[in-house]
């Protein structure tokens, strides 16, 4: 059950998120530019539509599933100490959720 949940969630690490963001922008912009140029040169809007749609399909396939390359920099947490740790003020923004998990 946990395995199914993790496939659906598809969590990736922070470096992976940066890479996914860059790839989304790059693939879609490239597909858009290529679609316009090919359509213009071949003088048919059909090519523009199909190249644009293929770029979108590629972007979805590349970015959406949690591929291995998005999980190459996993965060390593300190081992749980078993001691109740007090939350420190000022660390409430980004790390809060993960801090909470660490604390049993």
């Amino acid at each position: 059950m946990d395995q199914i949940q993790s496939i659906i969630d598809g969590f990736i690490d922070f470096e992976g998120q940066r890479l996914a963001e860059t790839l989304t922008t790059a693939i879609l912009v490239l597909a858009g530019v290529l679609a316009f140029i090919v359509g213009y040169v071949l003088s048919d809007l059909k090519y523009t539509v199909y190249i644009g749609l293929s770029g979108t399909v590629i972007a979805f396939l590349v970015v959406v599933p949690p591929w291995g390359i998005y999980k190459r920099n996993p965060l390593t947490y300190l081992p749980a100490s078993g001691v109740q740790v007090q939350m420190v003020d000022g660390d409430a923004d980004g790390g809060k959720e993960k801090e909470g998990k660490k604390v049993k």
């Binding site: 598809g10 316009f36 979805f60």
Partner: protein, 186 residues
């Protein structure tokens, strides 16, 4: 971008942005193709005026109809570029009047779906639509002008209209009588 759902939403969201900009560029690219429509021949030398009863539900009065045949040679191939869906072309007749001063009747039209159909050569073509005046009488009117109009419908972008090829001074003749004599209008 941490989970599948968020990544899918991000890709789709950016897709709409890219699609919007590409569509905008396509619409702008139409400006690179200026319209250069050649109308070589437009005119008529075969007009008759006949009296008839209107086949209309709101009136059955007898009125005058023009039976008009016209010639047209036009080349609209310059209107077809990568962003042209189809071109609507029509011929209209414009004439002055005393009570109603500006009158325009569309007498013929066609839809050109592709570049291969963009050359119009019509010889003695009969007007497609019945030609009658709002007052019911127009025999003997002078200065009838035939003009050729086109309307480009693009895939993306705005519609553009244009008109060329004006023939001045066509005259509607008198009413044709069954006996063959002509009766001039008052």
């Amino acid at each position: 971008m941490h989970s599948t759902l968020v990544r899918a939403q991000n890709v789709f969201g950016f897709l709409t942005t890219v699609a919007f900009f590409v569509a905008g560029l396509v619409a702008l690219s139409s400006l690179l193709y200026p319209a250069d429509v050649n109308v070589d021949v437009i005119g008529t030398n075969n007009v008759k005026i006949a009296k008839g009863r209107a086949h209309q539900y709101y009136t059955s009065k007898v009125q005058e109809y023009a039976v008009l045949y016209f010639d047209l040679e036009a080349d609209l191939s310059s209107l077809f570029n990568w962003n042209t869906k189809q071109v609507f072309a029509y011929v209209s007749a414009t004439y002055p009047g005393s009570k109603y001063t500006d009158n325009e009747i569309v007498i013929w039209d066609t839809i050109l779906p592709s570049r291969s159909a963009s050359k119009l050569i019509l010889k003695n073509e009969r007007a497609k639509y019945s030609i009658n005046d709002i007052t019911g009488k127009f025999a003997g009117r002078d200065n009838v002008t035939l003009s050729f109009h086109w309307n480009v419908q693009p895939h993306v972008g705005r519609l553009t209209w244009g008109a060329v090829g004006l023939t001045k001074g066509v005259k509607f003749p008198g009413v044709e009588r069954p006996g063959g004599k002509k009766e001039a209008a008052k």
